[in-house]
């Protein structure tokens, strides 16, 4: 899961396929790299739990913090997933829950639970490239960008990385023109992604700052997004990470929005 979080971190989202990978002969086919990176980043174990602390720094150096717990369950490796995000800080969002049923073949279903009103609100999934809780991470970084939304090209193989360039199939649907992603050749973890805007300027970098082995899964425990244009950054730190917790599918339903499970309340 953490990688789940990696998710958070990465734009993993980043990955998708092209049919004509030029380096297919000497390196793994680009589809294979993309698939493996997607699995490594977002699908560690059958499920996972992590606590995340985000520090958001704006262009004037002011800091804000967000703390939340994420639960993730895979319906199928590389396929549909369920996410449950339970907020702990700051206090005006405490006990709010954000839930996502991620689908590969259609728009995700998203809900927000507001405890003060006991209100289960449905949220439109249209624009996934909006800020997640005011941070520099995007919704799509949290629940993952579909690997089929971009064309991927292997542009370089270095000593430790595969370097891919990914271009959106529908350029009007996103704010970037392309991104370059560095994927660790050993474990297929995305280590860094750099985004170019429509003018070709590098405006956003997502990086894994620290990776640890947890239950045999390489896991991002610290990541950072930098905004080079508006300035500012968000650093996420992941603690109490656990894979294969045995989360029941029923946790990801309205019942547990109204009465959060022990797994998040601790």
């Amino acid at each position: 899961m953490n990688r789940i979080f990696f998710t958070l971190l990465t734009a993993l989202s980043l990955l998708s396929f092209t049919n004509n990978a030029p380096f297919a002969a000497e390196s793994p086919a680009v589809e294979e790299i993309v698939n493996k990176a997607n699995l490594a980043s977002y699908y560690g174990g059958d499920d996972g739990r992590a606590e995340i602390s985000m520090t958001i720094t704006d262009s004037q150096g002011r800091k804000r913090n967000r703390e939340f717990v994420i639960l993730r369950k895979d319906i199928k490796d590389g396929g549909d997933q369920l996410f449950f995000v339970y907020f702990k800080k700051p206090s005006d969002v405490r006990k709010m829950v954000f839930m996502v049923h991620k689908h590969l073949d259609k728009d995700d279903d998203r809900w927000l639970y507001l405890p003060a009103l006991d209100l289960v609100k449905r949220i439109a999934a249209a624009d996934k490239r909006t800020s997640f809780v005011g941070s520099h991470f995007l919704y799509e970084d949290v629940s993952g960008r579909s690997i089929v939304d971009d064309n991927h090209e292997l542009i370089q193989t270095t000593g430790d990385s595969y370097v891919l360039k990914s271009t959106p199939k529908d350029p009007d649907s996103v704010e970037f023109s392309s991104y370059t992603i560095w994927i660790d050749r050993n474990n297929y973890m995305p280590m860094k992604a750099e985004y170019l805007d429509k003018e070709g300027r590098k405006y956003r970098t997502v990086e894994a700052l620290l990776i640890k082995d947890i239950q045999g899964f390489p896991t991002v425990v610290k990541s950072r997004v930098k905004d080079h244009v508006a300035k500012g950054e968000t650093v996420s730190e992941f603690t109490n990470i656990k894979y294969n917790v045995g989360l029941a599918e029923k946790i990801f339903t309205e019942r547990y929005l109204r009465r959060p499970p022990k797994a998040v309340r601790k």
Partner: protein, 432 residues
């Protein structure tokens, strides 16, 4: 009674004191064993301190110029006990408009799961269901319209219920049942803080004519029952609802006492909500069966009606969402209503149509929120607009300002009657 608000609050202050005792009881022993009290309070005690002021823009002869002036402390404590969790949330309000210091108990409940497929929640709680956005058809839990119209935080639109809620979760569907032993009415507009159209006087009235309600306070006889059967099919949320109780606002009048009353009501309805056209769409209807006036011939009891709403919300641009709803009330037995209407009374339409618009724009890393919610009724020819600016100065400190703008071509329509209550407000909140 002189003031409905006060009555509500008074009846709520006794459980408040009990609750504080209870809170102390269950909370402190557990805390002292596991960890020092300070640690526990640091972890689990939350709340806010808020100051809020508002002013009327029109010179309403019937009401004070100050629409809201209050300082509020909210404390929120929760604690896991046995296999469930106990929750307390209460406010202490210094209200310069009513010139009183009053406690308000918002929540004191215990929630647990007696079996794997069952949840129970007992005590004072906030309850919500249904699909409307600031429109309610099958959500017959109490509202506080006064708070809504004078510019308190949206949280206060939902008034608490003293209830038992049981939920059963089967593979096929989920079933929620709510039992309210003693009727919880909505805090309606009685004239004490907001002037209103008084059909008997045939004019707008305020503090000069505060409506008195005939309270329903007998255990068992004045009980309410509400139920919902729901199911999520491939992302489409379907629900069926039933309610047996009373009109939540006093939709009846008792000529002998001169008091307004809460006639019997039963409601059944259904709703659906799901993702559509890159947004969220919903439909909901309810049949309001006014049991005490089945034929619609009693001019002092509101007729039965069919209520319907449909809505659509989507992101219009980055950090900018828009929502649109259509809502209607269709009066049953209109001929009977017409022929029994006392002479001189303003006649309601057979159909009441309302459109609502919601626009929300987030700026500055989502720390600044500009929002607008508007109700527009072509049949009543009236409007109610709620603009709001909310800025998070830091993680703990937030400021907001907004308005409640009423307008109508006539003085007796739903929103038009509140025209003189148009107000602006501003507040600052420190959360911890």
């Amino acid at each position: 009674m002189t003031n409905v608000t006060n009555i509500n609050l008074r009846s709520r202050s006794t459980p408040y004191i009990i609750s504080i005792l209870l809170a102390g009881f269950f909370v402190f022993p557990g805390a002292s064993q596991a960890a020092p009290l300070q640690d526990w309070l640091y972890e689990d005690l939350h709340g806010f301190v808020e100051i809020r002021n508002g002013w009327r823009l029109d010179n309403d002869v019937d009401e004070k110029d100050v629409s809201i002036a209050e300082a509020r402390l909210q404390l929120d404590l929760s604690k896991d006990i046995f296999d469930g969790s106990m929750k307390f949330k209460g406010d202490l309000v210094g209200d310069a408009v009513t010139e009183e210091l009053r406690p308000e108990l918002r929540e004191l409940n215990y929630g647990f799961s007696p079996t794997d497929i069952m949840d129970l929640k007992l005590g004072r709680q906030i309850l919500t269901w249904g699909t409307g956005d600031l429109l309610f058809i099958n959500d017959l839990f109490p509202k506080d319209w006064e708070s809504f119209f004078i510019g308190r935080d949206d949280e206060y639109l939902k008034a608490p219920s003293d209830a038992i809620k049981g939920s059963l979760f089967f593979d096929m569907f989920a079933l929620d049942l709510v039992y309210v032993p003693v009727f919880n009415n909505s805090n309606f507009i009685d004239g004490s803080r907001i002037s209103y159209w008084n059909p008997l006087l045939g004019r707008t009235a305020g503090r000069d004519f505060i409506l008195e309600d005939h309270e329903r306070n007998q255990v068992f006889r004045d009980s309410e029952f509400a139920g919902r059967l729901s199911k999520n099919i491939e992302g489409v949320e379907l629900a069926f609802y039933g309610y047996y109780g009373f009109w939540k606002t006093p939709e009846g009048f008792e000529p002998t006492s001169g008091k307004v009353i809460y006639p019997r009501l039963s409601v059944f309805g259904a709703s659906a909500r799901g993702a559509i056209w890159n947004g969220i769409g919903n439909v909901e209807f309810g049949y309001y069966d006014s049991i005490s006036d089945k034929k619609g011939t009693d001019p002092f009891i509101r007729n039965s009606e069919i209520r319907f709403l449909t809505g659509y919300e989507r992101e219009l641009a980055r950090e900018f969402t828009g929502g649109l709803q259509y809502y209607s009330e269709y009066m049953q037995d209109y001929d009977a209503y017409e022929s029994n209407l006392p002479p001189g009374m303003k006649k309601a339409d057979k159909f009441r149509h309302v459109f609502t618009v919601r626009l929300t724009k987030l700026l500055m890393n989502q720390n600044l929120r500009l929002s607008l919610f508007g109700y527009f009724s072509p049949s009543d020819e009236d409007v109610y607009i709620r603009p709001k600016v909310h800025y998070k100065i830091s993680d703990n400190l937030a400021a907001e300002a907004g308005g409640n703008i009423f307008w109508g071509t006539e003085d007796h329509t739903f929103f038009g009657q509140f025209e003189d209550n148009t107000n602006l407000y501003a507040g600052v909140r420190w959360s911890f």
